[in-house]
């Protein structure tokens, strides 16, 4: 077989936590797994998760009474009722197993110290006795939007420790990882996916991988916000983009984009929510703790969408600190003390020293909200099977599974990568083990020829034309300023027009570098159109959704509208179509009825339908939208009414 064609049982696109955990599960079930990764897998963006991983272990005093059911409740409320409640329940039940499994893989979780412990809660110093019986069990810290302390952590390097432990399992199992490779197209016949066309980022050549099952695990699409993101430079949404290119796979809830309250101004580098969980607070230019008045109950630990909006509004009202890069606010963690900062928040200490030249034990940290997480992604059923294309799966941030709805809680993404990696890996193995590889090489080589032609087309274009980096920068400005924290119909309309223009510009852009080999300008140019198409699905999805839910806030439609919008956006982009097409499906079977989140606004437009009626035809409607059958029937893992026991 030619070196242009590789075969494997399971192809995993993306070497972060979700992809690697999925590969482990498939390999352990006897399937040959191949991981493609843009970077050596330990450099994946999972390593940037700092403060914690949510799982209801309930080992420390302030976690007492926690359970998967409470975690489920927090997650659905956090999602502003956008989540699939069955998926949220599966997640909450399996998160403790995933945390303990990571301990087994070697993660040095912080542990409970029995006896007197010194904490800061809502700005007050308190001493709490930890049960001596709990000494040595995995500890928890507080995070936003949760009723209990639930975030398990390893200092502020939780993602790093988790990724290294999981990658060491990948090495132990001998799973092949091809780093510096990028999937640029899926190979499919319109109903089944059989692999991907790959560009080798060491030498610029293309090859194909044919597999029984293909998994997209490429993370989020934060870089469509240009420089206004905490995401790594590699989070360009390539997986969602190649799924959209098929024309048959829908993306879910693309307009649901999270802005993290505390990223460094101006670089956008993340400063963990663990700072506020451990007792840090926000200050304005007058030194006032404005979040106490804004959210008396949760204060700085309301959900991220709520805190980010209060911050943005407070800066608009003139209470920000002016800088050459625009206004910012202060994060104050001085009172936590140098010892705490240099152990439990060590990575924050390093980041402050390296990027703003400040000592956080003595000085304030300049922060502002920035794009952080993509709730939207490849729409999948509860097994991780993509809508519309058998044999294609998606997992982690790249997917819309959908446990986050319109706002993800801090620490739930790290947990999702491991929980869904386990579950989807199992389903992928099941799918692959019952099948022979259908090596339709004609299909593969046609897709390969297309990809090579696309690259050659870029190199052949000459003369004067727009520059790809300028198009990228313009996209970032449009997305942050017109599809950002506060949105409205007028600006969204402008954004749609601007992105449309940029798509045209992209078709006329000209490369200045024609070098053979990987050619960094070409590598970026090949992604740019896909990024613009994702940006268009976000902007148009936001334009169409005339309500406010979670991170999607419309100043012109400020209320959550459960009467008309208790649904999930699906967007497909037909091959040869100039516009994406939208449809809407029920979020899933709704067990916890829509209500107040416990923070943010309590005003909303109530549902007029009955829950029974809403739930009646969920399966039928979702199937009509391309959902493929799951191994177990819909709703089988929803613990109906369990929440009643913990809501009092």
């Amino acid at each position: 077989m030619s070196s242009k064609l590789i075969t494997t049982d399971v192809l995993i696109i993306g070497g972060g936590l979700a992809g690697e955990r999925c590969a482990i599960e498939a390999a352990a079930a006897g399937q040959e797994a191949l991981i493609l990764s843009l970077v050596p897998p330990r450099r994946s963006h999972s390593c940037a998760a700092q403060g914690g991983m949510q799982a209801a272990l309930a080992n420390c005093a302030k976690a007492s009474g926690d359970s998967p059911t409470v975690h489920f409740l927090d997650t659905v409320r956090g999602s502003d009722w956008g989540a699939d409640q069955e998926v949220a329940n599966i997640f909450a039940e399996e998160a403790p197993i995933a945390v303990r499994e990571l301990a087994h893989f070697g993660v040095p979780w912080s542990r409970v110290r029995g006896g007197k412990n010194h904490y800061f809660i809502k700005g007050e110093e308190v001493d709490i006795d930890e049960d001596i019986e709990s000494d040595g069990l995995i500890g928890q810290r507080d995070f936003g939007g949760t009723a209990k302390w639930r975030a398990c952590y390893a200092a502020a390097g939780t993602g790093h420790a988790a990724l290294y432990a999981v990658d060491s399992e990948v090495v132990r199992l001998g799973i092949t990882v091809r780093d510096r490779t990028e999937a640029v197209a899926l190979i499919h016949d319109g109903s089944r996916c059989v692999g991907a066309v790959v560009r080798d980022l060491r030498n610029g050549s293309h090859f194909t991988v044919m597999a029984k099952a293909t998994v997209i695990a490429t993370g989020g699409y934060g870089r469509i916000y240009g420089q206004y993101t905490s995401n790594a430079t590699i989070n360009e949404g390539t997986g969602a983009s190649i799924a959209l290119d098929t024309g048959v796979v829908p993306l879910g809830n693309m307009e649901a984009v999270q802005f993290h309250p505390t990223t460094l101004s101006p670089s956008g580098i993340l400063v963990t929510e663990g700072c506020r969980g451990d007792g840090g607070y926000l200050l304005d230019k007058n030194g006032d703790r404005f979040m106490v008045a804004a959210e008396p109950e949760k204060q700085e630990l309301a959900s991220r969408d709520v805190v980010s909006r209060h911050m943005q509004q407070h800066m608009r009202d003139g209470f920000g600190i002016e800088s050459p890069y625009g206004p910012h606010l202060w994060l104050d963690i001085r009172h936590l003390g140098e010892e705490h900062l240099r152990t439990k928040l060590l990575e924050v200490w390093d980041i402050c020293r390296d990027f703003v030249g400040r000592n956080p034990a003595k000085e304030l940290i300049p922060v502002r909200p920035t794009q952080h997480y993509s709730m939207g992604g490849v729409r999948v059923n509860k097994d991780g099977q993509a809508y519309g294309l058998a044999g294609l799966f998606a997992v982690g941030e790249a997917s819309c599974w959908d446990m986050h709805g319109f706002n993800r809680l801090g620490g739930n993404s790290l947990a999702e990568t491991l929980v869904s990696g386990r579950i989807v890996g199992r389903e992928v193995a099941k799918y692959a083990s019952g099948r022979e590889l259908q090596a339709d090489t004609g299909l593969a080589f046609a897709a390969l020829a297309d990809a090579e032609q696309r690259a050659a087309g870029w190199l052949a274009r000459s003369g004067a034309g727009p520059n790809v980096y300028e198009i990228r920068d313009a996209m970032g400005e449009t997305m942050m300023h017109k599809v950002g924290i506060f949105r409205n119909g007028d600006e969204l309309g402008e954004a749609v027009a601007e992105i449309g223009q940029l798509l045209d510009d992209c078709d006329n852009a000209v490369l200045r570098c024609k070098d053979p080999g990987v050619n960094p300008e070409l590598a970026f140019a090949l992604r740019l159109k896909g990024m613009l198409r994702l940006a268009m699905t976000v902007a148009r999805g936001a334009q169409a959704r005339t309500e406010s839910r979670g991170a999607h806030y419309r100043s012109d439609f400020p209320l959550r509208n459960d009467r008309d919008w208790l649904n999930r956006t699906l967007v497909r982009w037909g091959v040869d179509e100039s516009e994406p097409s939208f449809s809407y499906e029920p979020t899933g079977i709704v067990d916890l009825p829509p209500g107040h989140r416990g923070y943010g606004s309590d005003e909303r437009i109530e549902m007029t339908d009955t829950l029974d009626h809403y739930n009646e035809d969920v399966l039928q409607v979702q199937t009509g939208h391309g959902r493929l059958a799951s191994t177990e029937e819909m709703g089988s893992r929803l613990k109906r009414g369990a929440w009643k026991a913990v809501t009092g």
Binding site: V39, P40, R42, R43, S44, H45, C47, A48, I97, V99, R100, E101, A103, H104, F105, G106, P108, W109, S110, R111, V112, R113, D135, G136, L137, I138, G139, A154, A155, G157, H160, A161, Y164, S168, V171, V177, D179, R180, N203, G204, A232, T233, I234, S267, L270, L346, D350, I351, D354, F355, N467, R512, C513, D515, P516, G517, V518, N519, P520, E521
Partner: protein, 251 residues
């Protein structure tokens, strides 16, 4: 930098070679840039690529000094480019790729292969005592032990220590700072079932801690400030102990 000061004109001398281009020869190119406040090498290199030479190859991912992608030789010293402020450097800035790793092009090197091989060679994973039981409570560990393991786990595999190592530059089998630190991290982990004498071959051989020639540039250049001197002392102590134990076994 205050507004009244004249911005510096920075002069970058950058190593260039594209192995995929048969016309390419190793050489250096010079680029000039006006310095701006808080300019890092991440900002500077992207400006050079986007405005002056779109073919320039280098690697960044997190740009916040945690992923380890961007190590390079900065004025002769290995460093993470993303956290290097130009204000800490003279006006003339020489950038070369890390030695000891295979060159991909210009400033980009293949650290992934080196670190994967090191992990395979040292079997850098927990050698489990029992299979995972999803229904069991986690094994207890004191927070102090967890903190000590975490300290060793903080290595980001950037390769600065390897590039700075006198021995690794002439012997590509030497484990170097990152490899030895990785060994020590698993050695001190009570969850790992390997005994000190099982570790002996890995640590005491020609590629292990006793081969180290003690120049300690590794500790000086480590961007995470890992206490490598202490790590090597720990490994020597444990290995010698294992040697005596092994002799005792035979007697």
């Amino acid at each position: 930098m205050s507004d009244t000061e004249q911005a510096r004109r920075l002069r970058f001398e950058i190593f260039r070679y594209n192995p995929e281009d048969e016309n390419s020869e190793p050489h250096t190119d010079v680029f000039e840039l006006d310095e701006t406040p808080f300019m890092t090498l991440y900002i500077a290199l992207n400006q050079i690529r986007e405005k002056q030479d779109p073919g320039l190859q280098f690697d960044f991912a997190c740009r916040s000094a945690i992923c380890g992608s961007c190590a390079m030789m900065v004025n002769g010293r290995p460093a993470l480019a993303c956290r290097t402020l130009t204000s800490d450097l003279p006006e003339k800035i020489q950038l070369y790729p890390l030695p000891t790793f295979k060159l991909i092009g210009d400033l980009s090197v293949d650290t992934g292969t080196w670190f994967r091989e090191m992990a395979e060679k040292t079997e850098a994973w927990i050698h489990e005592r029992l299979p995972f039981d999803p229904d069991a409570l986690e094994q207890r560990m004191s927070d102090d032990v967890a903190a000590a393991i975490y300290e060793g786990d903080r290595c980001i595999e950037c390769g600065c220590c390897v590039a700075s190592c006198g021995l690794a530059n002439v012997d590509d089998t030497f484990l170097a700072g990152a490899g030895l630190n990785r060994v020590a991290r698993f050695m001190m982990d009570p969850r790992d079932s390997r005994s000190d004498s099982e570790w002996f071959d890995v640590v005491a051989g020609d590629q292990g801690v006793f081969a180290c020639i003690g120049m300690m540039a590794c500790e000086d250049v480590c961007p995470k400030e890992l206490p490598l001197l202490e790590v090597y002392a720990y490994l020597r102590r444990k290995t010698l102990g294992a040697r005596f134990l092994a002799k005792g076994d035979k007697a």
